[in-house]
């Protein structure tokens, strides 16, 4: 399989802080990967590097067939239309309805005027497709409900639907289940895996919850302080690795308190 994402010695700093440091890995097309690690370990930064919202200070990133550092703004935008991203706080427009939010999933490829028209007068074909997608993610009755009126779990489904309507080649999700209860979190992670298998898109999800990651993902990439400390299958993740990932040093305990 050709690669979907390929990082070579990527470093990204914020001032003097190295949020991501000398990271290299490859994710193949169609692969399902969980990014794990404590908060502050660089998962969000890494995801924003993968969708080209941030550029690396050092190293090279290749996404599908493009080298990010040779892309101009237009090429980056075109590339992003093929990468669906679900940010940690979902990034929905709460004053718009579900169908309006989902239809914006294709805004990147359709352009400004078409998007405005889509918001006001969605086409029949789009409405039908979106209805099918919402049905698949389990909230078809919320098509015309404003997102602000939906529960956290339902909003999450709208964000997933927006990603699906994009017909993406890869889906990046940043801690998609950090704000819902454990039962719902499990359903959502499971759903993401199933959708990736059904549609064949590459899936990369950052997760706080190690148990969930182990249950649903064939590959885990573990981060700690911006570095990769584990990369392998769940059953290769031993006691030692877990300690390297999650055990706080005294210094970090102090910082956390």
């Amino acid at each position: 399989m050709p690669s979907a994402f390929r990082l070579d010695n990527v470093t990204r700093r914020y001032g003097s802080l190295r949020a991501v440091e000398e990271v290299s890995f490859e994710i193949k097309r169609g692969e399902q990967v969980a990014l794990i690690g404590p908060s502050g370990s660089g998962k969000t930064t890494l995801i924003r590097l993968l969708n080209a919202m941030l550029s690396p200070d050092e190293g090279a990133i290749r996404v599908f067939d493009s080298d990010l550092d040779t892309c101009d703004a237009g090429e980056l935008r075109r590339l992003r239309t093929t990468l669906a991203t679900i940010p940690q706080h979902l990034g929905l427009v709460p004053t718009l309805t579900s169908i309006q939010n989902v239809i914006l999933g294709q805004g990147g490829s359709r352009g400004t005027l078409r998007s405005l028209r889509d918001l006001l007068f969605p086409s029949r074909a789009d409405a039908l497709e979106i209805h099918t997608i919402l049905d698949r993610v389990g909230i078809e009755e919320k098509l015309y409900t404003r997102v602000a009126r939906l529960s956290g779990g339902q909003q999450q489904r709208v964000a997933i639907a927006r990603a699906l309507f994009q017909h993406p080649a890869a889906l990046l999700a940043d801690e998609p289940v950090s704000s819902v209860d454990p039962a719902r979190a499990r359903d959502t992670v499971k759903l993401l895996g199933e959708l990736s298998a059904e549609h064949g898109f590459t899936l990369c999800v950052s997760l706080h919850d190690l148990a969930l990651a182990r249950e649903f993902f064939p590959r885990l990439i573990g981060m700690r302080k911006g570095r990769i400390v584990f990369d392998g299958a769940p059953d290769e993740l031993g006691e030692e690795d877990q300690r390297a990932l999650y055990d706080l040093s005294d210094e970090e305990m102090m910082a956390d308190a």
């Binding site: 919202m53 940010p87 427009v93």
Partner: protein, 290 residues
């Protein structure tokens, strides 16, 4: 605790400083409590007459020379209220679109990401120029703008409207840009991440997100514009303020009070209406608006 006394100590110092500053200013301006008392019998009489007229507003003109076929005073007052409303509405129709453009230029949530060094420098200077422009036009009061425009263009409703619209565009634009940058970051980042362009992000993500608060704040400013347009009557623009000024000049205090009561009624009605609109907007966004 030590840190606490430090904090409250500072507050006490600031409080004491403010009182000292007030006393110094009052002395410099020659203020005494006696300044509130009218200096001689003539002034006493006029003050008394003015407040007595509050209980006895005019239902007919006090002026003998008003022709019989003229509108009755209450009708003239109501027309004046509508002129004031029309004037404030006209000024706001100029100010809101201007403020939207200025607010767009003076905000950063829609900037492309990543943003090259040169693009960033350009956007940053547009941002600063627009912020500066907004603070300049709003730091000059509408009355002063009115005097400038009236002397340049003559007394015309359009000159007055522009005079009112200018500082209002500045204030609205500043608040708009803050609403845009504070509320819409999440949604705009998400849309940019899936390939939306900057202007597109603004139109389909940021504007809908910020709309309830933009509308609600515009409505609040409309109430301010109403009061201001009444005041602009004093420099000759035909609003209810002009009628108040003319009657006041002739010491027709009972007429003044008729007009004042109409102004108060107008403000109360618009306030209630505005409050109802704000309540609706805020519940319908599920509490995500401020």
């Amino acid at each position: 605790m030590k840190a606490d006394t430090g904090k409250y100590g500072l507050k006490r110092w600031v409080g004491a400083g403010l009182i000292v500053a007030f006393v110094l200013c009052a002395r410099a301006l020659g203020l005494t409590p006696g300044g509130l008392i009218p200096p001689d019998a003539g002034h006493w009489e006029r003050t008394g007459a003015f407040f007595a007229a509050a209980l006895d507003p005019a239902f007919d003109y006090e002026d003998e020379n008003v022709p019989d076929e003229a509108d009755p005073i209450w009708w003239k007052g109501i027309k004046g209220v509508f002129l004031t409303l029309k004037f404030a509405f006209g000024a706001m129709s100029l100010a809101v679109p201007t403020a939207l453009v200025l607010g767009f230029l003076g905000s950063s949530a829609w900037w492309p990401e990543p943003c090259g060094r040169r693009a960033r420098a350009l956007l940053r200077s547009v941002y600063l120029v627009s912020r500066l422009f907004m603070s300049v036009i709003r730091s000059i009061h509408e009355l002063i703008w009115a005097l400038l425009f009236l002397s340049a263009m003559g007394v015309s409703p359009l000159a007055g409207m522009i005079a009112l619209a200018l500082p209002f565009s500045g204030t609205l634009g500043k608040v708009f840009s803050e609403i845009i940058d504070e509320e819409a970051r999440d949604a705009s980042q998400a849309l940019k991440a899936i390939g939306h362009g900057p202007v597109q992000t603004f139109l389909v993500g940021i504007l809908p997100r910020a709309m309830p608060n933009l509308v609600s704040y515009s409505f609040y400013r409309f109430e301010c514009a109403l009061r201001s347009s009444a005041v602009l009557g004093f420099v000759g623009i035909e609003t209810i303020g002009l009628y108040i000024e003319l009657s006041h000049e002739e010491f027709y205090y009972r007429e003044v009070w008729t007009y004042l009561y109409l102004v108060i009624a107008m403000i109360v009605v618009v306030d209630l209406w505005g409050a109802a609109i704000r309540r609706r907007l805020h519940t319908s966004t599920g509490g995500c608006a401020i």
